[in-house]
Symmetry: C2
Subunit: 548 residues, 2 copies
């Protein structure tokens, strides 16, 4: 492996950890817990792992005698900066308990457990990956661990390798499945503990006990770096509106965090669009009005942040997509026989009037994406829709109309960007490097304490690392019942942007000023070696949420 100078220098970084993790750890148990909703249903589904107490690590006096333990680890789902440090933390944690402990990594995600595809992670391998981005140490994958046969198949290899505990590093779904697995293994007396770790750049796995999911900090900082650079360009050239789409699936946490970091002229928050029942036209008008106001001040440039999931949060678009999916599912052959150039008119003719009108208003490329690029189940692939181009084009059309009415006097030219893959595998910021290592080390502590069905929890992370609080949260505590594919299932409640939360409110308070007064902030690239106010700050979201 050829390494850059930064990779080499960064390898020597020692993550900062809570003081308690460097001491003799004892566990302090709280009162029994309840799930956030649907207590009866969740309790019934998790008889062995429901109601367990919160766990807090405290400094103890007597070091227990730990026997060697074999542990397995799985990276599940999309990459997030810091995954390697979670694994390094687990490794150091179980080695600290007993030097003869061993760590096995399952290859390319949960599929590796089912397919018995694994590797032992030894000290030399771990050292190669400390403080690096990516999940390439063992790879990740999107296989869902949901079926009993998978659990049984996995158990075969766990037994063969004498693995007594499995750590699943993943998002809300993967941690839900981790809990189902913990419950199943407890139920059949498999003697395998399962511990989860909160991962996702999207930031939508968080609650009272999980302040943030790892990777969100680094990814947002990378996006804010490049958005900041674009804003500086925008403010120098003074001739483009930049439409910038940001990853983050359904939730707009990333768009909101980046907005707080860079102070763009416009940021769309999907959750607000849905709450206000905005149509696509409302969004377009909102942007076009700000463009016109800035133009009136001689500023024919600006920036717009757009969350990836926007389209699905516009109620009218959701209805259109539902009708399209339904229509195309039932008329696939008929539709395919129609000449490409006539397809659009055909759809306009077939839809109900309200959806037909919306469909007709869409630019041709987007209309085509909505009818052609369907997934194997016949559904529109909303994630493929280039929302940034869609909005730029529709805003341009709207401004043309406004110009005729004398309501827009200026120039409008746009550039579009989409940032996602640029941030998911960045080398973790100091925050994520510290947080992830601590999460992994804490997971090892939970294993040492014989726990299962818990998520590793590290809190108070806006304080210096020494003061962070480490422990475990019963995963069932975060669950409620939701309808998935037509069936009620126990799942971890997804955290969308809270419109009554402090971060959104701060944004809402400032956005009018940011829209008209160019007040861009340029965060610059993540720094690893400089002053602490540059290198060790958590996200704005976390700082604002935890401010008094």
């Amino acid at each position: 492996m050829t390494k850059s100078a930064l990779q080499i220098a960064r390898a020597a970084y020692k993550p900062k950890v809570p003081n308690v993790l460097t001491s003799i750890v004892e566990i302090q148990e709280g009162a029994p817990t309840q799930s956030v909703a649907n207590q009866d249903e969740v309790k019934q589904l998790f008889p062995n792992t429901y109601g367990m107490p919160l766990i807090k690590f405290v400094e103890g006096t007597n070091r227990p005698e730990y026997t060697p333990i074999n542990v397995g680890v799985i990276l599940s789902g999309g990459q997030a900066p810091g995954g390697h440090n979670v694994i390094a933390g687990i490794f150091d944690g179980i080695k600290n308990m007993n030097q003869d402990s061993r760590l096995y990594g399952f290859i390319l995600g949960p599929g590796g457990l089912v397919d018995h595809n694994y590797t032992e992670l030894t000290a030399d391998i771990i050292d190669e990956y400390r403080n690096t981005g990516g999940f390439d140490i063992i790879g990740s994958g999107r296989t869902k661990l949901e079926e009993t046969w998978q659990f049984d198949k996995g158990l075969e290899i766990l037994k063969k390798l004498n693995i007594k505990a499995l750590v699943i590093i993943g998002g809300d779904d993967s941690n839900t499945n981790a809990c189902v697995l913990a419950e199943y293994y407890a139920q059949i007396g498999a003697d395998v503990q399962v511990i989860g770790c909160p991962k996702t750049i999207d930031g939508d796995l968080k609650n009272e006990m999980i302040e943030t999911s790892f990777g969100f900090d680094t990814a947002c900082k990378v996006y804010s770096e490049v958005i900041g650079n674009i804003q500086r360009d925008c403010n120098s050239a003074r001739k483009y509106w930049h439409f910038i789409k940001l990853m983050g699936r359904s939730a707009s946490h990333i768009a909101l965090e980046c907005a707080l970091q860079v102070q763009p002229n416009i940021a769309i928050i999907s959750e607000e669009i849905e709450a206000k029942n905005f149509s696509l036209d409302d969004v377009v008008n909102y942007i076009a009005d700000i463009v016109a106001q800035r133009a009136a001040n001689g500023q024919n440039f600006g920036t717009v942040l757009i969350p990836e999931g926007l389209i699905e949060f516009i109620p009218a678009m959701k209805n259109l997509i539902a009708e399209l999916n339904n229509y195309l599912a039932h008329h696939e052959d008929e539709f395919k026989r129609i000449k490409r150039s006539a397809q659009r008119a055909h759809i306009i003719d077939k839809l109900t009037p309200v959806n037909s009108k919306i469909y007709a208003s869409l630019p041709e490329t987007v209309a085509r994406q909505l009818t052609l690029d369907r997934d194997p189940h016949g559904n529109v692939q909303v994630s493929l829709i280039e929302t940034e181009k869609l909005l730029a084009e529709m805003v341009s059309n709207r401004l043309d109309e406004m110009a005729k009415e004398g309501k827009f006097v200026g120039k409008f030219a746009s550039q579009v960007h989409f940032f996602g893959y640029e941030g998911r595998c960045a080398a973790p910021s100091n925050y994520d490097a510290d947080y992830c290592y601590s999460l992994g080390y804490t997971a090892a502590g939970l294993i040492g304490a014989g726990k299962t069905g818990y998520m590793s929890s590290v809190r108070n992370t806006t304080a210096p690392a020494a003061e962070w609080i480490a422990g475990g949260v019963p995963i069932t505590m975060m669950m409620n019942m939701e309808c998935r594919h037509g069936k009620m299932k126990p799942v971890i409640q997804k955290a969308l942007v809270d419109l009554n939360g402090k971060p959104f409110k701060l944004f809402a308070k400032n956005r009018e000023s940011w829209a008209l007064n160019t007040d861009y902030v340029y965060p610059g690239p993540i720094q690893y070696f400089g002053p602490t106010e540059v290198c060790d700050q958590p996200t704005k979201t976390l700082q604002i949420e935890r401010s008094i």
Copy 2:
């Protein structure tokens, strides 16, 4: 202006400069110079500024008495990291000569000189912009200073402000024009010196005396950061081929430098494509073959770097575009009357057989871009063509054919990216911060020495900054005669990638290995505060060029 923590910390950075600039400067003049070609023609066009000697600053003993001088500065063309430091260097340089000297900035590029749009740059303004990216201190613009009336109009304001010297910060064209202006002012006895500074992220303004243009270092490092992040993602998810287009206009310096930094599976170098007379199909086959070979090794993922100017370097595409431009210019009305859905077939019918065949092979979206999106002169706008999508789509089609022939067994899915605006206004790396400040300070020295028609030159930049060599190069020395818009003109020779140069040769030697063995390097973000081997390295291109 709200500032990020990094902006605040970075403001305190003191650029490192050549030792000679901190001493009493004397100038050492070399022998008379010649233009790189067409000596007679160039000499005739520049009777006052041709043949001047190279200038090297050396340590002197007697400090001359400098009278106060008013200086003007212009940022010309596309943004490049470090422009603000050039201005800070000029400011500090002329203030060092005499505290009563003044600096005026012309607003939004050369147009500001012609339109008498200016601002005085005082110490408090300069201090706000030290070590920052962007050109927003005075803005930039693309107005070309070419006409005598512009020179005369500019002279009015120069006289009014008692400006005795003008520094033009720009690329090859802007520096050519700076020299024309210098010659004109000398010829009419205007008593205004003109000095150029080599700016462009594209890296195509360089020669024996100008090692590199400023901004190239920082921009390439930003692009390499995000490409590295994508490669780490690519190597973790193991399911996508990422097609990444990079800015850089005609030259492929940026693509080559990034390739040397990140070691991608594939990098296309336009200059090589042209030299080998490759067709678009050849390029597609080259990529598809590597995809197939990697797939045979079980690696259905990879990265491809594509220079922005590629299409224009494919001789067959150049011919197609020329014929299209010609056809559409003469049949515009006829073409417009044809139904959109029939236009493609119409063009295929009208072109000569060889071009018709190429046109027919292009994906529909690109074919449409080639016929529809024409500039005000009726020409195809090649820069709008999404080459990254074009290649991804054509490679996909080719692989489908290869699969039928049993020559490709694997999966192919692609993601596309285009990086440009992300890097042009990044905060300058230490290298660019130092280099730019030194260029500006040197420009002030040339002004102090009464010179005109020179470009500020700072060399030996792979050594520590203390050992850098500062001085001036007569701009006429870099000129030759080239045909522009049908007329022979004196211009600075554009530096394309030298296929016999060491950087390309090193790339060519390694690319087969990089193609098949995943040997990605992850450079990470630019660091400003860490160890010198991380923070103070020039580009790989420069290091390799200047290695023995």
